[in-house]
């Protein structure tokens, strides 16, 4: 047997993804509380603020506020936190540990995202509960919400990871991530008919718009299968394109 053949075969992608996720969950066991607080405080606060300022609103507007803030909750973890973490990993050469192992770069990014998303779910539950209580709207909360949230997270995390990989340092990545998150917030909450046509057109280039529409359809009901497919398909396509970019960026060498 040659030395070369004595190397272990690379692990199957599923095994390495599971191990990477376990590593991330283990890593976050000490500071998970702050992630739960951060991902729930801001969206819940915005729901409360909008209700306090506007008073009772139509069902459509209430659903828009709730779903917009659900997407914001995902965006906080998938864009702002992920961009900062990925930029830190790049700047400190922490990525080198993973880049010298037989695992794919996007699998590393996805493992961080899924770990963060786990801590965003309590925040989303708070947004749903507070929104329903304040606006008194019926919400169709079913199992389909979970894959929709996951798909939203993956699509938005492509943006977060790309920001992190392209930024010089984690402070800059955090700044850009927060700005992008603000865009997500505005495009998600303000109904299309209240924004200029140009802004509405641009909003269809951003995955968060499809995420809001998909969550609106799931929570409010009444959307056609074609609309569901369009939104889920757009999120899936964004994920593929963005993760292709992440793959290129994470394997970029000096």
């Amino acid at each position: 047997m040659t030395a070369q053949s004595s190397a272990q075969p690379a692990p199957p992608a599923l095994q390495s993804s599971w191990v990477l996720l376990r590593m991330q969950m283990t890593r976050l066991r000490r500071n998970w509380r702050q992630y739960v607080v951060v991902s729930s405080a801001m969206p819940t606060g915005i729901v409360l603020l909008l209700h306090a300022m506007s008073g009772p609103v139509s069902r459509a507007m209430a659903l828009q506020v709730i779903t917009g803030n659900l997407v914001l909750s995902v965006a906080i973890t998938s864009i702002a936190m992920l961009a900062q973490q990925v930029a830190w990993m790049k700047a400190t050469r922490t990525f080198d540990y993973f880049r010298t192992l037989p695992v794919a770069g996007p699998a590393v990014v996805l493992s961080i995202l899924v770990a963060y998303l786990c801590f965003a779910i309590p925040g989303m539950a708070v947004v749903l509960a507070v929104g329903r209580a304040l606006y008194g709207v019926g919400l169709q909360v079913g199992w389909t919400l979970l894959p929709a949230v996951l798909l939203t997270g993956v699509a938005l995390s492509g943006i977060g990871a790309a920001i992190g990989l392209m930024s010089r340092n984690d402070q800059l990545a955090g700044l850009i991530g927060n700005l992008v998150m603000m865009v997500v917030l505005f495009l998600g909450i303000i109904p299309a008919e209240r924004v200029p046509a140009a802004v509405d057109a641009v909003s269809w280039l951003v995955p968060s718009t499809y995420a809001v529409h998909l969550l609106l359809a799931l929570l409010g009901g009444g959307a056609s299968a074609a609309e569901w497919l369009r939104d889920a398909g757009a999120l899936a396509l964004s994920s593929v394109l963005l993760f292709w970019l992440v793959d290129r960026l994470s394997y970029r060498v000096d």
């Binding site: 272990q8 095994q15 191990v19 976050l28 400190t92 990525f95 080198d96 010298t100 037989p102």
Partner: protein, 314 residues
């Protein structure tokens, strides 16, 4: 047998004109411990980063087991384990988790990874610290945990950047013993280190780098012969008589703190006879014969520090 690594005319120029690797060519044979020595800025880290595919060469090439490698080459990632200078990715994990997870990411089953992690930690003498979080441990323990993770799954090639930094002498000795055992078992080890004295204990061959180039390469013995390094005598309790004889014998290097060091070259027998003169011998407190070491080779290339202290008595 094909070389583990074959580096051919490797050059790396960074934007701004810094040449970190300047036309480097050398082989690392399978089953040897190959040392890369050099001061800070000599180009050691850039060289090993190219060898593991983290940095793209400007020109030239690197073959691993005869196959040309590219950045992030699957063969490299499967066959080569790299211990970088800091295991930041592992800081929030316990020592055992870090080793076991790394083993799993290198293809071990969870059961194999758990078993081999504990065995590895026991071998390194840190089995009792398996459940401690790496980030809460001392710098030396960080290093040891990172080394244990690099050794997980027993990859055929190990590239270790300063593996014994911050380790105490007992643990360092344990690490060198472990690396010797790995070499005997067939592993190829590329060792980047500043610790020249200890490197001499384990390396089969060594490349000494200076300003991106290889200033010398070969076995430590061959390098000593090549550079015609001389035997020295260290005389303690130097009286005026001893000092006088030392000056007659050869090049006196150090006359500080009651010690005289004198290079005697091939005239050791004659020098000892001269010192046996009762008038001289009565003033001597101790006499040590200092054979040239790898550190002497290193210093002859990179320059002697002023008032060098050297306690390599053989």
């Amino acid at each position: 047998m094909v070389a583990a690594y074959s580096v051919h005319r490797l050059t790396k120029r960074y934007p701004g004109g810094v040449t970190a690797s300047d036309n480097l060519s050398f082989d690392v044979q399978q089953g040897e411990i190959f040392g890369i020595l050099g001061p800070n800025g000599a180009g050691k880290s850039t060289l090993v980063r190219q060898m593991v595919g983290l940095t793209r060469p400007s020109s030239g090439g690197i073959r691993l087991f005869g196959k040309q490698i590219r950045p992030h080459d699957a063969l490299v990632r499967r066959s080569v384990s790299f211990l970088a200078q800091s295991p930041l990715a592992l800081l929030d994990l316990t020592v055992k988790e870090a080793v076991a997870y790394t083993g799993m990411l290198r293809g071990l089953s969870p059961q194999q990874a758990e078993r081999s992690a504990q065995a590895l930690l026991d071998e390194l003498g840190i089995g009792d610290r398996a459940r401690r979080v790496i980030g809460r441990m001392s710098g030396g323990e960080h290093r040891l945990a990172g080394l244990a993770a690099a050794l997980a799954a027993d990859p055929p090639v190990l590239i270790l950047d300063e593996p014994t930094n911050e380790l105490d002498p007992v643990i360092r000795s344990r690490v060198w013993n472990l690396l010797e055992r790995r070499r005997r078992a067939g592993s190829t080890i590329v060792l980047v280190t500043h610790n020249v004295l200890e490197a001499e204990r384990v390396v089969d061959r060594v490349a000494i780098m200076a300003r991106g180039r290889i200033a010398a390469i070969g076995t430590p013995e061959a390098l000593k012969r090549q550079l015609r390094l001389q035997v020295s005598l260290e005389l303690t309790g130097a009286t005026a008589a001893v000092l006088g004889v030392a000056r007659e014998l050869g090049d006196v290097r150090d006359a500080a703190s009651g010690k005289v060091r004198v290079r005697v070259g091939g005239n050791l027998g004659a020098a000892l006879q001269r010192l046996a003169d009762p008038a001289v011998f009565s003033g001597l407190e101790s006499l040590r014969v200092l054979h040239p070491s790898l550190e002497d080779v290193y210093l002859s290339i990179h320059g002697q520090p002023e008032e060098a202290g050297d306690d390599r008595a053989v």
